[in-house]
């Protein structure tokens, strides 16, 4: 790590761990294994001994042998839960001394749905920040699965710091229309992989604007019901703008599962050496404004030489938390160093900081923000002034593709 990063990593590196739970969760961990960032510890747990033995991950555990005899939970979440409780000590051991824990699982089955909430709860009690990525079943799968998934999702939201649900239906839009089911599933896994790697690089790569763990913790300080999550990628001459456009189209931002505004917002930008600070800042301001005008925004920009001309944006936000202001000081230091230096560490900080955050928003004015309209409520076009056509809780006057979050390339 460079000297820029002295505060956190030199003294005590952040201990991060990824645990894949159940079949789908392990698959994601397997994928990560192939492109393993060096200091990311990967673990797979399952109730099915045979499935586990196929995994290339080194650290793997079969849990609940007393309950399932290593034969899997049979799609029953209650069995999964029992299995987890039976091996509680093993799970505790697993998440001990972990600062940042990622859990990945597919909801709807037995192990993922049953074990993940128990594990998240244990980890949270041990003091870890728990971020859970879960895939939701395809609608072509049975209705029973999606009901089980909903129950599991609610349980997770109670215990984890952030739960990011990825509806499989949406993820396959990214793939070709005649992709096989296997390809579709691996596409879903790829999304989770991207998200985890993005947060990992935020913590571990050299930062143009650095983020440290305490900031991440603050964003996820409160358990909240809904999370905002989006990824965007761009290449070529105007990579940053392309990435923003891509982010804007990110199907995850248009689903009802996700909140449209956030109180706490974490924006990370990963780019090659050509990424400039002023450009970065301008873009970040506009993103912050688009996703939440009154949000507390934590920003990071990472330089990764291997990115070349590619730029990736990752946005994570939570809503429903307290109004602690944590606008990033270091970011301002680049612009107006004096303002930051004279700021005393005293009781008036909260007031000052909130004023500061306002000022930053003013500065970023409405130059290009009009372009963004993720959050303005869905347009109804010609039917704007008519009575809505309500059916099963939806206003059918709003275009179908918007309500279903289908991404339409122009």
């Amino acid at each position: 790590m460079s000297e820029l990063n002295e505060g956190s990593s030199e003294i005590k590196p952040i201990r991060m761990k990824v645990i894949g739970v159940g079949g789908a969760g392990s698959n994601i961990v397997d994928r990560l294994m192939l492109s393993n960032p060096s200091d990311l510890h990967l673990t797979a747990i399952n109730t099915d001994q045979q499935a586990l033995s196929n995994s290339p991950v080194m650290d793997k555990h079969c849990i609940g042998k007393t309950v399932t005899h290593g034969l899997g939970a049979g799609g029953d979440a209650d069995v999964g839960r029992e299995a987890a409780l039976a091996d509680k000590q093993l799970l505790e051991e697993m998440v001990k001394d972990v600062d940042l824990l990622f859990l990945t699982a597919g909801l709807g089955g037995g192990t993922g749905t049953g074990v993940t909430p128990v594990l998240a709860d244990i980890a949270a009690q041990k003091g870890a920040t728990v971020i859970v990525f879960v895939t939701l079943p395809f609608t072509i799968e049975r209705a029973a699965r999606s009901n089980a998934a909903k129950v599991g999702l609610d349980k997770l939201r109670e215990v984890a710091n952030a739960v990011i649900p990825l509806p499989n239906d949406l993820l396959i839009q990214e793939s070709e229309p005649d992709a096989s089911l296997l390809e579709a599933f691996s596409q879903a896994d790829a999304w989770v992989e991207k998200a985890i790697k993005s947060i990992w690089s935020m913590m571990n790569k050299t930062g143009l604007i650095n983020l440290d763990f305490s900031q991440l913790q603050q964003v996820f300080a409160n358990r909240s019901s809904k999370t905002l999550f989006g990824l965007g990628e761009g290449t070529g001459e105007d990579a940053t703008n392309a990435a923003i456009a891509d982010l804007k189209l990110c199907p995850l931002l248009h689903t009802p599962e996700f909140s449209k505004k956030a109180d706490q917002l974490l924006v990370n930008l990963i780019g090659g050496t050509s990424l400039g600070i002023s450009e970065t800042q301008r873009i970040m301001d506009s993103i912050a404004d688009a996703f939440g005008k009154d949000a507390n925004v934590v920003m990071g920009a990472v330089i990764d030489e291997s990115m070349g001309h590619r730029v990736e944006i990752c946005v994570i936000g939570t809503s429903g938390s307290s109004d602690v202001t944590i606008f990033r000081g270091r970011r301002r230091m680049k612009k107006i160093p004096s303002a930051n230096l004279v700021e005393p560490d005293s009781a008036e900080i909260p007031e000052k900081k909130s004023r500061k955050s306002k000022k930053t928003h003013d500065k970023s004015q409405k130059t290009e923000q009009h372009e963004f309209s993720f959050s303005e409520g869905e347009p109804r076009g010609e039917f704007e002034n008519t009575e809505g056509t309500m059916f099963e809780g939806q206003d059918l006057d709003t275009p179908t593709f918007l309500r279903r979050g289908v991404r339409i390339p122009i």
Binding site: R380, G381, E382, T389, L396, F401, L402, P409, I410
Partner: protein
């Protein structure tokens, strides 16, 4: 000397007003003698929102039809559609009273009036009572008279509408000094023309996709058992396109007609077509995939809404006769495949070949033709001399006086 009566079938739709004139000879046969059309104004999502504009259009169409035929209209049958048409099932049962255990005429009358007697919410009037087969001791019977049994059940699907909105449409016709003999739900009218007896017998579904609203009527064992209407239609497709592809509504409308398809045909996302195709400034290429995807999602949803409203009646095993599409929306390419995908039953675009030739065979005239057919049946039932206002109109009169 023979007696003849001229009746008009009038459909005030979101896109156009269609007037067809029919001459009923001796209360027996029907000749189509005139037609008038005008494009609609003041109608949105099937509802009249501007009385004067809608009234002017309707009058223009009626006038042109009368001029063409050179006769005066004696009575009008009006099609009904739009946001405020709803239905509910109403059921009643009686014990068979006679000593020999056979169903008497009185039993049937009593159970029917009980079933029809359910109170409606305020400001709503009954448009149709669609009778479903009687049930005698839990078996389905068409004509229970003189059959042996203990327990007779009757069930109706009651279609009702907002009295004020129906009143608006009737006032438009009355404003032209014409008398409305009856109002009929669009899909029921269309269904009587496009669906064959065999299809109705096997169970079929007639869907009339208009510009502002979609109507449906489901048939079982030869008769209409469920019908309804909801305000989704072709305008929604254009609106979706205009929002999704950032263009004006008329451009979207034109794209829909030129390239629209109810299923995605062009899987290659790279294929593009020109927006205006005039090589002027502002013309730009549009992805064919995007156009088709937006339309596919909307059309599928329209069929899904119908499927959900029908419940068990919409299942493929109850639709042996298939799905019949009519109205302007049926002109959309691949509309049949889209409907087949949702209902799992064969679908076809309706055709008025049984009643008309030439231009009138097109599915957009099904409703008006159906109105005339209905009028013919009604007149022959009454006999040529009798002509009293039906129950609905009496009820409406009460409301407006």
């Amino acid at each position: 000397m023979y007696s003849s009566k001229v009746i008009a079938g009038i459909e005030i739709g979101t896109s156009k007003v269609v007037v067809l004139l029919g001459e009923i000879v001796e209360g027996q046969s029907l000749n189509i003698i005139g037609m008038g059309q005008s494009s609609s104004k003041g109608v949105l999502k099937g509802d009249i929102v501007d009385f004067h504009a809608a009234s002017d259009c309707a009058h223009a169409a009626i006038l042109s039809a009368e001029d063409q035929a050179g006769v005066k209209i004696d009575g009008v049958y009006l099609a009904l559609s739009g946001s405020d048409v709803n239905g509910f099932p109403s059921e009643a049962s009686v014990n068979v009273t006679s000593e020999d255990g056979r169903v008497s005429k009185e039993d049937i009358e009593q159970v029917s009036s009980l079933a029809k007697g359910r109170d409606l919410p305020e400001e709503r009037v009954v448009i149709h009572h669609l009778r479903r087969p009687y049930r005698l001791d839990n078996r389905s019977v068409e004509k229970p008279l003189n059959l042996e049994g203990e327990h007779l059940e009757a069930s109706y699907w009651t279609v009702h509408g907002n009295a004020r909105k129906i009143g608006d449409a009737i006032h438009i016709i009355n404003g032209f000094n014409l008398h409305v003999d009856d109002v009929i739900l669009s899909a029921v009218a269309a269904g009587s023309v496009v669906a064959s007896e065999e299809e109705k017998q096997n169970g079929c579904l007639v869907i009339d996709i208009g510009r502002g609203s979609t109507d449906y009527a489901a048939y079982q064992s030869g008769r209409c058992v469920v019908a309804g209407s909801f305000p989704l239609g072709g305008d929604h497709i254009s609106n979706d396109l205009s929002i999704g592809l950032r263009m004006r509504l008329n451009q979207a409308e034109s794209l829909k007609h030129r390239y629209g398809s109810a299923i995605v045909e062009h899987k290659n996302k790279g294929e593009k077509v020109w927006l205006n195709n005039d090589f002027e400034i502002g013309d730009r290429p549009i992805r064919l995939w995007s156009i088709e995807k937006i339309i596919e999602l909307r059309m599928t949803e329209i069929f899904e809404v119908i499927s959900k409203k029908l419940g068990a009646l919409g299942r493929s095993e109850r639709l042996g006769g298939g799905v019949i599409l009519c109205g302007g929306g049926a002109n959309l390419r691949n509309c049949e495949q889209c409907a087949e995908g949702v209902f799992g039953a064969p679908a076809r675009v309706g055709d008025n070949g049984t009643m008309a030739t030439g231009e009138l065979r097109e599915s957009q005239y099904s409703v008006a033709l159906g109105l005339l057919k209905y009028g013919l049946q009604y007149q022959s039932k009454l006999g040529p001399s009798e002509n009293k206002a039906p129950g609905l109109l009496r009820k409406l009169k009460g409301l407006f006086q």
